[in-house]
Structure formats: structure tokens, C-alpha cells
């Protein structure tokens, strides 16, 4: 397809090139300059064919090495007995077997499930709700939007540091509530090993829900007005219109949002590091922290590589079906 289009695009240059070929004038510098312009055009045409590829090739090569090659290397490393130093002797799936024997890995995986699920759910709910509310021709909409979105400009480390202070039992929120007269209020999730992972959800939702709002709002503004007017003529109420017409038509936005939130959740490393550092103990560990600690502080490269491959597998398991549904949905929808 693109090849056909390309010949049309480069029409004139290519025609000249074909003409020179047909008349047997080789497009080479060495040929004596009988027909200088034709020769020049032929060269220019050649340049137009090869320059784009040449320009793109460093990126392609870099991507082949640093993305695909490195994934391959990590995959291979996960199949060796590597500890402190890489060891390139093939050892089958022993690292994976060892990984699945480690309780801490399952704690991390379960935490990712808890954090990912709740993070996505709450971001979706608050983001969609705020977008719908903001869509009601609100005064100072721009200012409100900016306020909801600014946490997205912050680093997860900054977010983590701020919430670590706010959720600090004894000084932060707890003291505020005591000062306000709620003497029995207690909120020590940050240091409670059963609840610590939920504090990560609180901070994560604070950081990312404004972004979800922005995406949904953009989607809402793209909804066809005439359908809505028609529904209003038919006497449908505003909530019904949202439920039956507007929100279903946001399907592609839902896919994008899910895609990005799932991606943020699986990669989450900074936020947990800054907020709980995986603690208390290892109770709020996630795979990204597990990978980091086993690879860089415990000298278990093979295990680290195996856990990284599991993270990649999780990303693919979420992204591939979503992407497939999205492209299919787009093909049907348009």
C-alpha cells in the first residue's frame, strides 16, 4: 500500500529516474555528463529514496538494540544462574521456579493486583464524574481544570513525600481530626502492614485522576450535539442522556484511559518508594521494587531478570487484548 503511494508521491522524480534507466543512462557520478540535468535529477531521486531510510536508520537500529535486543538479553539472563555477576550458562527455568517459591514475590504480585485494581477503578470514577460535572457549562471551568490537573506535573517522588507527611500517624491527618474534636479518630494505614498498600492508592489517585478527567472531558466535547438534541426532543432527561448516549460513545476514551492507567500501575515504582519504601517490612512491596532490590541491592541478577520478564508479561497481558479491542472497536465505529 505504502509502496504504491510512494511512487505516486515521488512522481516526477521517479519518472525521471525510470526515464534515465530506460535510456540506459546509469545514475552514477562516473558517467560523463552528456545529460547533466537528467543525471542530476536521477541522483536527486535516488537521494529522495534513500535519505529518508538513512535518516530513520539510527533510530531503528537503536530501537532494535536497546529495546528488542535488551529484552532478549534480560530474557536470556532470566534463564541463567546469574547472581552478583552475569553468568551466561543456560539453566532453564530455575530462576522462575525460585521466584515462585519466594513469598515476597507473591506479596508484591498481590499488592500490584490490589493497587492496580483500586487505582484504576477510583481514577475512572472520579475522573469521569469530574468531567461530567465540568461539562455543565461551569463558570471558571479553566481554573478548576487546571487545579485538578496540576498533580500530573509533579514527580511521583514529590507526591509520595507530600502524602507521607499528610498520612503520618500522630502528626498529619490524625492530629488535624483530633484538633477538630474527633478525639477517637485514628488513621495509621501508613504504618499498618495490612493497610499500607491502600495509602499508595490514595496518593496515586490524587496524582492521576485529574488526567483521566482531562481525557474524558475532551471525549465529552467530541460527542455529536445533534444526537443529544434529538434525545432531548424525545423528552429524555439529562442523566438518561449521559447514561444511554454520552458515556457509551466514550468507548474509545475508556480504552485509552484503561491502557494508560494499567501501564502506570504496573510500572509503579517511584510512588511506592517515596511513600512506604515497600514497608512496613515488605508489606507494600510491588514487582517493580522487588525487581530493583533483588537486582541491585541483593545481587540476584537472575531473579531480578525473571521478575522483570514477569512485569513485561503482565504489561503485554493487559495491553495486547486492550489494543486489539480498541483497533477492532475503531474499525467498526468509524
Amino acid at each position: 500500500m505504502s509502496a504504491i503511494r510512494n511512487t505516486n508521491d515521488a512522481s516526477k522524480a521517479n519518472k525521471v529516474l525510470h526515464a534515465t534507466r530506460a535510456t540506459g543512462v546509469a545514475p552514477s557520478l562516473a558517467t560523463p555528463g552528456k545529460n547533466k540535468t537528467a543525471q542530476f535529477s536521477a541522483l536527486a531521486a535516488l537521494a529522495d529514496i534513500w535519505l529518508p531510510r538513512l535518516v530513520l536508520s539510527p533510530t531503528i537500529i537503536a530501537s532494535l538494540i536497546f529495546v528488542y535486543g535488551f529484552i532478549g538479553l534480560t530474557a536470556y539472563l532470566s534463564l541463567t544462574e546469574s547472581r552478583m555477576m552475569p553468568n551466561y550458562e543456560f539453566a532453564g527455568f530455575s530462576q522462575y521456579a525460585a521466584l515462585f517459591e519466594i513469598d515476597r514475590w507473591w506479596v508484591a504480585a498481590a499488592n500490584l493486583g490490589i493497587f492496580g485494581g483500586l487505582f484504576i477503578l477510583f481514577c475512572l470514577i472520579t475522573g469521569l464524574l469530574m468531567a461530567v460535572l465540568l461539562d455543565q457549562k461551569i463558570r471558571a471551568e479553566g481554573a478548576l481544570r487546571a487545579i485538578y490537573l496540576y498533580p500530573m506535573a509533579l514527580s511521583f517522588i514529590v507526591t509520595g513525600a507530600a502524602w507521607k507527611w499528610i498520612l503520618n500517624p500522630g502528626l498529619g491527618l490524625e492530629k488535624l481530626m483530633h484538633d477538630w474534636g474527633y478525639k477517637n479518630f485514628s488513621f495509621d494505614w501508613l504504618v499498618d502492614s495490612d493497610m499500607a498498600i491502600y495509602t499508595v492508592v490514595i496518593a496515586g489517585v490524587w496524582q492521576s485522576s485529574g488526567f483521566v478527567m482531562a481525557l474524558f472531558l475532551a471525549g465529552l466535547r467530541g460527542v455529536d450535539d445533534s444526537i443529544i438534541k434529538a434525545a432531548m426532543v424525545d423528552g429524555a432527561s439529562l442523566p438518561t442522556i449521559y447514561r444511554r448516549i454520552v458515556i457509551p460513545s466514550l468507548r474509545p476514551v475508556f480504552f485509552s484511559v484503561l491502557l494508560i492507567l494499567a501501564h502506570i500501575a504496573i510500572k509503579s515504582f517511584d510512588l511506592v518508594m517515596a511513600l512506604t519504601a515497600g514497608g512496613p517490612g515488605t508489606s507494600s512491596d510491588v514487582p517493580a521494587i522487588f525487581m530493583y532490590q533483588f537486582s541491585f541491592t541483593r545481587g540476584q541478577l537472575g531473579l531480578g531478570a525473571a521478575s522483570a520478564m514477569m512485569m513485561l508479561a503482565t504489561v503485554l497481558a493487559v495491553l495486547v487484548p486492550l489494543m486489539y479491542m480498541e483497533t477492532k472497536g475503531a474499525a467498526h465505529g468509524r
Binding site: K12, L77, I138, A153, S155, I157, M311, L312
Partner: protein, 297 residues
């Protein structure tokens, strides 16, 4: 005239301030408080003394504001082993982010130009293959990368971090520029070709001059990503090239001595200032970057 239809966006201006309308505003303002509260808490805590922090609470107004915590955070606070404040790490981040942002944007621009207007057999596959770089969890490449940086003698240097950010930023920048350049009319490029303009002439004379808005989006997106990065910084930064996010994390998670919450909060704001400032100045481009990265990425 009585049958004038209310549109979705203006349901009730005609009807005045109904109960529903009030409820909407209350909810929106509550949300605004929720998002602003941490910023307020950070700012006020950073100008309180430790005694004031203990005697007051999160929302109490600072009675004796002082810049003590700020100067300590900038100049003398301890981040792990050294006590030089955040300043050196702040400069590390800047020295890393500026070149990495510029180079990765330029590469993205020229790549996007090729992928949008010089399609060749297989260019679609190349594009899709490049985009995978947006999706992978970076944990899956850091072990080989650490080894390669070591071999290149770039481990624990700012140059090494710049290289890493350029490589893993290219997928995003290419995506941005490609999606933008697709909207530049094909006829414009074809007309230039018929006039005999070559690959680079067309880029210099037609494409590049049209690119200012997308360069802004790309600069802001890349700057935010690179400035806020933690994983690459902590793995490849060593002690000399550590970016400010890593230093902040070390400072906040230091377990020795009394935790100085005011210094922690001042440090957090210092680490956030550049991206927050960009957001305030060029928020429109920031949002466009987010949504552009989101729609396809």
C-alpha cells in the same frame, strides 16, 4: 419561543440557580480543595518551625513564617551520606534534562517527518515497532543497559543518563511529531518536490517552520518525563550524577535523627518547581502533550 431547546451544555442558565446546579458547584469546589490541600500543606509546612508543626496541625496557618527550612533544603540538608542540600542534584537534573530534551525532540521531529511524508515499504511496521518502546516497563531493559553504560565508561555520569533518556524518549517524540506532521497537507510537500526540493530542503523550508507548536508540546512532555524520572536516575545516576528526585527520596526516607518535616516539604517543592512552573506558564501545551501521548500511546 417558549419551545427553545436547552442544549446539553446550557441546561439551566435559563432556569436560574436550581438545586442541582448548586450541588454541581459544591462538588466541584470540594474536588478543588482535595487537589489543592496537599499543595497548601506542603507550602505552609515548609515555612513552619518544628515546634509549630508539633503544636499546630496540617491546616493551621503558619504564625512565624521563616525561610529556614528552604535554605536548609537547598544548601545543607543531608541526602544519605552527604550534607550539601538539594542544590547539586538540582543542577544535575538540569544538566541532564536540557540536552536530553532538545536532542530527543530533534530526533523525533526528523523521524516523524520521514514516517509522515516519506513512507516506504515497511515504514508502517517500523512505526509500530518503534512504538513498542512507549509501552515496555523499563525494568526489562535496565540490567543490560547498566552493563552497556559500564562498557562505554558512562556509568554514573550525566552523559550516561542523557543517552538513556534520549534512547527511551525517542519512541514518544517520534509519535508526537509523526501524528502532527500527518496533518501537514501532502500536496504542500508534493508541490515542493515537483519544484525540485529535496528531502532536507522540504524539512527546512516547509516542515520545520510549521513545527513550533509541536516542539513546545514535545519539549514540555519530555522535560516533565525526564525531570520527574526516578528509576533511571537511581539505577544509572551513581553518586555524582544523581538527579534531584533521587536526592529527595533519600532525604525524605532518611531514618537517622529527627525527621524535619519542614525541610522535607521545602525539598519536595524545590524538586517540583521546574515542572510546576512550566505547567503554570504553558499548561495548554502540557495538556496537549498528555492527551497526544494518551490517544495513541
Amino acid at each position: 419561543m417558549a419551545a427553545k431547546l436547552p442544549t446539553l451544555a446550557t441546561p439551566s442558565f435559563v432556569q436560574g440557580l436550581t438545586l442541582g446546579r448548586v450541588l454541581i458547584y459544591v462538588l466541584l469546589i470540594l474536588c478543588a480543595f482535595y487537589y489543592l490541600a496537599p499543595l497548601y500543606v506542603m507550602l505552609t509546612t515548609s515555612v513552619k518551625s518544628l515546634e509549630e508543626i508539633r503544636s499546630g496541625n496540617l491546616l493551621s496557618i503558619p504564625l512565624n513564617p521563616s525561610t529556614y527550612a528552604w535554605s536548609k533544603a537547598w544548601g545543607t540538608a543531608c541526602t544519605g551520606v552527604t550534607c550539601e542540600g538539594l542544590a547539586p542534584y538540582f543542577w544535575n537534573s538540569l544538566k541532564m534534562a536540557v540536552p536530553a530534551v532538545i536532542i530527543s525532540s530533534l530526533i523525533g521531529s526528523i523521524n516523524g517527518y520521514v514516517l509522515a511524508h516519506w513512507k516506504f515499504r515497511g515504514s508502517h511496521i517500523v512505526f509500530t515497532a518503534l512504538m513498542v518502546g512507549c509501552f515496555i516497563p523499563f525494568q526489562v531493559v535496565i540490567l543490560p543497559m547498566a552493563r552497556v553504560l559500564g562498557m562505554l565508561n558512562l556509568a554514573n555520569t550525566t552523559s550516561g543518563l542523557i543517552l538513556v533518556h534520549i534512547i527511551y524518549g525517542m519512541a514518544f517524540t517520534t509519535l508526537f511529531f509523526r501524528n502532527y506532521y500527518v496533518s501537514v497537507p501532502e500536496e504542500l510537500v508534493n508541490a515542493a518536490r515537483i519544484d525540485g526540493a529535496g528531502f532536507f530542503t522540504i524539512y527546512r523550508r516547509i516542515i520545520f517552520p510549521l513545527s513550533l507548536p509541536i516542539f513546545m508540546v514535545c519539549f514540555i512532555w519530555q522535560f516533565t518525563q525526564i525531570w520527574n524520572d526516578f528509576l533511571f536516575g537511581v539505577v544509572f545516576g551513581g553518586s555524582d550524577a544523581q538527579p534531584v528526585t533521587v536526592a529527595l527520596n533519600n532525604l525524605v526516607n532518611t531514618s537517622t535523627g529527627v525527621t524535619e518535616y519542614n525541610v522535607n516539604m521545602a525539598s519536595a517543592i524545590i524538586a517540583a518547581l521546574p515542572t510546576l512552573g512550566l505547567y503554570l506558564v504553558a499548561g495548554k501545551y502540557f495538556v496537549r502533550g498528555l492527551t497526544a501521548g494518551a490517544v495513541k500511546g
